[in-house]
């Protein structure tokens, strides 16, 4: 047996420990290293993975959003994420709000890649430890950090370049003026990927970043069709959910007003407030409406 340096032994220890935890390393030279990522200016030389490694071979689409995301955008983001899993693996982070919507939409099908700003043995935010475990079991966790590396201020910036680099397109579902998600979007533009953003009402701080992206030339996405169209994908239409007459009426009013208060809906439809609430919970269960707090409701675009 040849002499081995201390450094090599240490590396062996790390590798065997990773092996035990079902983690693996992917080098830039590996044949399953995503081509898209390899093409960016500074591709990570090694990626640490945990979970279903074959997801790296799939087409990938990135959905991100800031932590504070209005309920309608979360619902719509979730729906888009769920629909896109028919053709893509969804790439996102592990945070609240926008990331959470993407995760919840994609995780049931298992086609979810979560890119972490820290090592695989760490968890940020700590409250999402269970979610992280679930993704490792059903989807895939990816990071360029060593297993025990903690999250740093600058690691998000580096992580965002991987998000953008992995994906063919990026959808920003919410972003404030100085949101970190804009970094991902700008990276994606630099790498020549498609960028999509939800449109927001003027003056709504949670959407200033999204509107800014659209101003700069990002695609306006008001539904999943906008994204599918630009990739030339035709998915079979979902069967229309049958609505009762009252539900149709409320649906029409909501379509006209955007977000509306229960009282307004009651006044416009001529129904009692509690009847409106009952029909709205039916619409909610059919995934067509969403409560946005303060007894206000809005539609979920599909």
């Amino acid at each position: 047996m040849s002499e081995r340096s201390g450094r090599e032994r240490e590396l062996d220890g790390v590798l065997s420990k990773m092996d035990k935890r079902g983690q693996s390393a992917m080098f830039v030279t590996d044949e399953d290293y995503p081509v898209n990522l390899k093409s960016i200016p500074e591709p990570p030389l090694v990626l640490f993975l945990q979970g279903n490694r074959s997801l790296m071979r799939e087409r990938k689409f990135c959905i991100v959003g800031s932590r504070i995301t209005p309920p309608w955008a979360e619902k719509l983001g979730m729906h888009i994420s769920e629909t896109l899993t028919k053709r893509f693996a969804i790439v996102t982070g592990l945070a609240e709000g926008g990331d959470r919507a993407a995760i919840e939409g994609a995780l049931p099908s298992g086609k979810l890649i979560s890119v972490l700003p820290n090592g695989l043995d760490e968890c940020y935010p700590a409250a999402h430890a269970n979610l992280k475990k679930k993704i490792a079991e059903e989807g895939l966790l990816v990071t360029e950090c060593a297993p025990n590396e903690k999250v740093k201020k600058y690691s998000f910036h580096a992580r965002n370049r991987i998000l953008a680099g992995l994906a063919e397109g990026v959808l920003v579902i919410s972003a404030g003026k100085r949101s970190g998600t804009l970094i991902t979007a700008n990276d994606a533009l630099d790498y020549g990927r498609e960028v999509f953003a939800f449109p927001y009402n003027p003056g709504l701080s949670q959407g200033e970043g999204c509107n800014g992206l659209i101003k700069k030339g990002a695609c306006l996405a008001s539904g999943v069709e906008d994204i599918l169209e630009s990739f030339g994908i035709n998915l079979e239409k979902e069967a229309e959910v049958p609505l009762t007459d009252e539900e149709e009426t409320l649906f029409a009013i909501l379509k006209e007003c955007g977000e509306a208060h229960l009282l307004l809906l009651a006044e416009r439809s001529g129904m009692q407030v509690f009847e409106v609430a009952a029909h709205l919970s039916s619409l909610e269960l059919k995934n067509l409406a969403v409560k946005s707090g303060g007894n206000r409701y809005s539609l979920v675009n599909k």
């Binding site: 932590r67 504070i68 609240e96 709000g97 935010p125 409250a127 701080s205 208060h261 229960l262 009282l263 307004l264 009651a266 006044e267 009692q272 407030v273 509690f274 009847e275 609430a277 009952a278 029909h279 709205l280 919970s281 039916s282 909610e284 269960l285 409560k291 946005s292 707090g293 303060g294 007894n295 206000r296």
Partner: protein, 508 residues
């Protein structure tokens, strides 16, 4: 000579007869008390001595032994004073010929011989009557509380001398006249009324359903939107107290010493313990004697917890079991006591720490993690027991062209009374009185869901990740809504409406 006088002590709401035996005999002058008296009872020695002296009678300078029987119960409080004094007078042969057998003496003595009122008189009278005692001498200041007890001779006395004159037959005290129980309807209208609540149709509807079916209610909304005002209106739409209910509530308040001027509780209680309340003050307890807590004082009425997440977690968790059972058993060194605690829980909270989440014109400055932390302060099991959760919001009136006038409490109460009548008929001869109290057996009998209704629940179950308890709670609420609607069957629209009151589940 030996004298025996009957007195009563309380264990919870149950009166227990205590015999005060006094022996006055020759020997070195002394004054002994035996039979587990507590400090307040022992101190009666001095009160009795001066009261007898100042009442114009003679305190015997002999060997005096006083025994309280049965000896194994702890005796507490000053309500034995009168009985001790009478038995002393009897034993020292100052009440020759007076018949004190079968008379129950209750009262605390002042140094000048006046009789002071005692706490817990009504429950004592009721238990004593149940055990066959019909003659009572009570403090005159307790007379108002006692006058609702029919079929007993009750003599309200002002002083020890008056009692002595009564017993020796020189000057009889006029027996108390029984009073008729009248529910305070007039007074109710003056304080809170739903007609003063502007807007808030959702909360009003939820309140109506909650009262109709005996459900619990949680109101979520930014500060200053009228949550407290709405809660204060709940007693005004609750069904009138029956005499039996009033007596039961009065008993508890009598023990706690919180009885008002009228001597009987005529209005449903509305208790608002502050969020600094301890578990003991909420559930009852005490050092030797177990006092009723807020939940027992709210028996038959409303317990309003303003700013629910601010309460001590363990205090809130302690509410779970009484919410299910309608009574609470408190064990202390002084004994184990069960108090009724069947109340309607009404709670209010802000939607987030800053209070502006979901507001139309103000921005919420809380992070999602902060909001989650705030909401997590209220535990799932407690929330499961709150059937109706409703948002109270501040809608700007510019958004509406017509603002309808608010309905007064009396109109709502009529509908509540009707729904309660339906339930009374349904649960005739059963221990259940309102929909919220239904168990599995009653639910299978009265809450059959149509196939469509079942489908709705199933999808709600999956979408909202509901617990099994939440499911049965939704069905019970749907039953109440159907009752308000005058419908025999639970229709899909009733289920949908019931689901719309689980907003907390939707939010998190």
């Amino acid at each position: 000579m030996i004298a025996k006088i009957i007195c009563f002590t309380l264990q919870g709401l149950e009166g227990v007869p205590v015999e005060v035996e006094t022996d006055v005999s020759k020997g070195l002058p002394g004054y002994e008390m035996v039979g587990l008296p507590d400090a307040a009872v022992k101190e009666s020695k001095e009160r009795v001595r001066t009261a007898i002296k100042n009442g114009g009678m003679i305190f015997p300078v002999q060997k005096i032994t006083i025994n309280f029987a049965p000896a194994d119960i702890k005796k507490e409080g000053a309500s034995f004073d009168l009985a001790v004094a009478i038995s002393l007078l009897k034993a020292s042969e100052q009440l020759v010929g007076a018949d004190v057998k079968d008379i129950v003496f209750l009262g605390e003595l002042a140094l000048n011989g006046d009789i002071r009122p005692v706490n817990g008189l009504l429950p004592i009278l009721i238990s004593a009557k149940g055990q066959g005692f019909t003659k009572f001498i009570i403090p005159a200041d307790n007379a108002k509380e006692a006058r609702f007890l029919g079929g007993a001779e009750i003599y309200p006395a002002h002083s020890l001398a008056e009692v002595v004159r009564h017993l020796s037959g020189t000057e009889r005290i006029a027996p108390l006249e029984t009073a008729e129980f009248v529910v305070a309807r007039g007074e109710r209208q003056s304080s809170s009324d739903l007609k003063f609540v502007k807007g808030q149709p959702m909360a009003r509807r939820a309140l109506e359903i909650a009262v109709s079916g005996g459900h619990n209610l949680l109101m979520i909304g930014p500060p200053g939107t009228g949550k407290t005002l709405l809660a204060r209106c709940i007693p005004t739409v609750m069904p009138d107290l029956t005499f039996e209910e009033a007596l039961e509530i009065t008993k508890i308040h009598s023990v706690a010493g919180t009885l008002g001027e009228e001597g009987i509780v005529t209005e449903r209680p509305f208790r608002t313990p502050h969020h600094t309340a301890t578990t003991v003050s909420m559930c009852g307890g005490g050092n030797r004697v177990v006092h009723p807590g807020e939940i027992s004082l709210a028996h038959g009425g409303v317990l309003f917890l303003d700013e629910l997440p601010e309460y001590n977690r363990s205090t809130l968790e302690a509410l779970r079991q009484p919410l299910e059972d309608g009574k609470i058993t408190v064990s202390r060194a002084g004994g184990t006591v069960t108090y009724p605690s069947s109340f309607m829980l009404c709670a209010s909270m802000n939607p987030c720490p800053c209070g502006n989440y979901g507001s139309a014109n103000l921005t919420c400055t809380c992070s999602p993690a902060e909001i989650r932390r705030y909401r997590k302060k209220v535990s799932g099991p407690l929330l499961d027991r709150i059937d109706l959760q409703v948002e109270v919001d501040n809608i700007s009136y510019d958004e509406l062209t017509s603002v309808t006038a608010s309905e007064p409490s009396s109109a709502v109460k009529e509908r509540v009374d009707r729904a309660r009548a339906v339930q009374r008929e349904r649960f005739q001869g059963q221990s259940v009185t309102v929909n919220a109290e239904m168990g599995e057996r009653e639910m299978t009998a009265y809450c059959a869901l149509s196939e469509e209704g079942d489908k709705i629940l199933r999808s709600a179950f999956e979408k909202m990740h509901l617990s099994a308890r939440a499911r049965s709670r939704i069905i019970k609420v749907a039953r109440t809504i159907a009752d308000l609607d005058g419908s025999e069957q639970i229709l899909p629209k009733h289920v949908f409406e019931a689901v719309s009151y689980r907003i907390y589940d939707k939010m998190s």
